[in-house]
């Protein structure tokens, strides 16, 4: 697979490591009433879709940036690559 890095252009998948579902960006509020349940779900449960999947990749052998890659799990086709920082800020996180 070639991952089209937003800053560096197409790079081989071997330069990256994958963390998993991009939902990991949305860390629950630790002060919430049901924080224990929220963190259990956040850490352990997955949508695991057959089709488009948003996931976090780390450019370990490159510029060490975190990316959100939208990839089809049925075909391995990569549809979209964004900087994870941009995605996190757009979702209301401060960094």
């Amino acid at each position: 697979m070639l991952i089209d890095h937003p800053l560096l252009g197409p790079r081989d998948e071997a330069e990256f490591v994958i963390l998993g579902d991009a939902g990991l960006i949305d860390r629950p509020d630790w002060q919430a009433e049901d924080a224990a349940q929220l963190f259990h779900d956040y850490l352990h449960l997955r949508d695991n879709p057959a089709g488009e999947h948003r996931e976090l990749w780390f450019h370990e052998q490159g510029d060490r940036s975190w990316l959100v890659v939208t990839r089809n799990t049925l075909t391995h086709e990569i549809v979209r690559v964004e900087l994870a920082r941009d995605v996190a800020i757009a979702r209301g996180r401060d960094r």
């Binding site: 071997a14 963390l19 998993g20 057959a50 391995h76």
Partner: protein, 416 residues
């Protein structure tokens, strides 16, 4: 028809005209006591043990494609019970014991071959860990022998013992481990279940569940609605997709695991070998092909095929362990879908929906578990209580802070 040497002789003398199809091809009935979703090794074994051990025969197995078309036909055929943790090891040892009696039990030749498995170690720390694992195995009734360097050399003189980075110091040997003809396991269980009256229904994809007021009353399929008092899902690899129909999110990701076979070679490799310094394992099939594999690719996938970096990594491991492999040509490569769970261990449990049971999360190790998985799942479905050796394989174990994490990698499925 019971298979025997006499039967072969009789059929041979009469032109082999008397052989019958191994199982029936029934039309689905409108209602069963138990419907098993998934006609792979685990589903067929479950059906077999429900009938054989619990006398429940008003059972159907629904399979999307043909029987045994999933992971039971796509694995590297290794059986072993060399686990460490008390939540796992007694279960896998039960599986090992069931493998040992399988062919007599099923009256079917599954080519169970206990040629032994050696997990190599390359440092003092790894030796201590191997000794600890061996002791845990022996405590659970399994067999384990700690081999030193010379004992390994005697069995496998072709290994690169003096590798600069990863010298081989010895290995943990389980003599009762080995390989089993994978397709024959599915066929043997299918035949055994069919002979006791279980309906095996192929080309019957399940597309939904009939759930009313929190109770599962049947399944929607490509061939209409089939009612059932109990529905047992057994579709590892696609668990997320199928349980999604019931609105459940699971502690599972689907990944792709590749395997490789070389051209046929003269017998060279005794039993199964695993490299302790990188992820590489190898055995030799009865036809002579080297069957080997390593890590999963690492990303979520339903594609049943992987990519080249995983292949390269596996071959590097092979070259580091046994340089002679460099002359062998890879003949076939394939990928299978595996349920990677959050702690690397499986689930055999009820779900929050009454009448709906779940078996999955087998990671890359489902084949060896086939008999015990079917045995314990049948026990759960028939009695309503988990079998003692599978009592920790619960879906809620993360909430309770009781994962079964052999590797200690935490909730990161692609590291298990």
């Amino acid at each position: 028809m019971r298979y025997s040497a006499l039967q072969i002789l009789r059929q041979g003398l009469t032109g082999n005209r008397g052989w019958k199809p191994v199982w029936r091809e029934p039309e689905p009935k409108p209602h069963y006591d138990i419907v098993i979703v998934g006609g792979g090794g685990h589903g067929l074994a479950t059906a077999y043990y429900l009938a054989a051990r619990h006398g429940l025969t008003n059972v159907a197995v629904l399979e999307k494609g043909w029987l045994g078309s999933g992971n039971v036909g796509r694995n590297t055929t290794i059986v072993r019970s060399n686990y460490l943790l008390p939540g796992n090891e007694p279960f896998y040892e039960l599986s090992m014991k069931l493998w040992e009696g399988l062919e007599q039990d099923l009256n079917y030749n599954a080519m169970v071959s206990q040629r032994g498995i050696i997990n190599l170690y390359h440092s003092d720390g790894q030796r201590d860990a191997a000794a600890r694992r061996g002791n845990a195995m022996i405590l659970a009734g399994a067999d384990a022998v700690l081999l030193d360097r010379e004992a390994v050399r005697k069995k496998c003189p072709f290994l690169d013992f003096d590798n600069e980075r990863f010298p081989i110091m010895g290995g943990l040997w389980q003599p009762r481990g080995g390989t089993v003809r994978h397709d024959a396991v599915a066929w043997g269980y299918a035949r055994g279940a069919d002979r006791q009256g279980v309906d095996l229904i192929q080309n019957c994809e399940v597309t939904g569940f009939d759930i009313r007021s929190g109770v599962c009353r049947g399944v929607e399929t490509a061939r209409g609605t089939i009612g059932a008092d109990r529905v047992a899902v057994c579709v590892a690899g696609s668990s997320g997709r199928v349980m999604g129909y019931a609105g459940l999110r699971l502690p599972i990701e689907s990944h792709v695991l590749q395997a490789f076979v070389s051209e046929g070679l003269k017998p060279a490799i005794p039993g199964v070998l695993t490299f302790g310094a990188g992820h590489f394992y190898i055995s030799q099939s009865d036809k002579g092909g080297l069957v080997f594999g390593g890590d999963i690719d690492g990303y979520n996938s339903y594609a049943q095929r992987g990519n080249l970096p995983a292949l390269e990594h596996v071959c590097e491991g092979g070259m580091a362990l046994m340089p002679m492999i460099g002359r062998a040509r890879v003949l076939r490569i394939w990928g299978g879908l595996v349920d990677m769970s959050m702690d690397g261990s499986p689930f055999i449990d009820r779900t929050p929906i009454d009448g709906l049971f779940f078996n999955g999360g087998w990671n890359y190790g489902g084949f060896k578990a086939t008999p015990a998985s079917g045995y314990c799942y049948a026990h759960l479905i028939a009695t309503g209580a988990p079998h003692p050796v599978a009592a920790e394989m619960r879906l809620d174990r993360f909430e309770r802070g009781a994962p079964i994490d052999e590797r200690g990698a935490g909730a990161q499925p692609n590291l298990h």
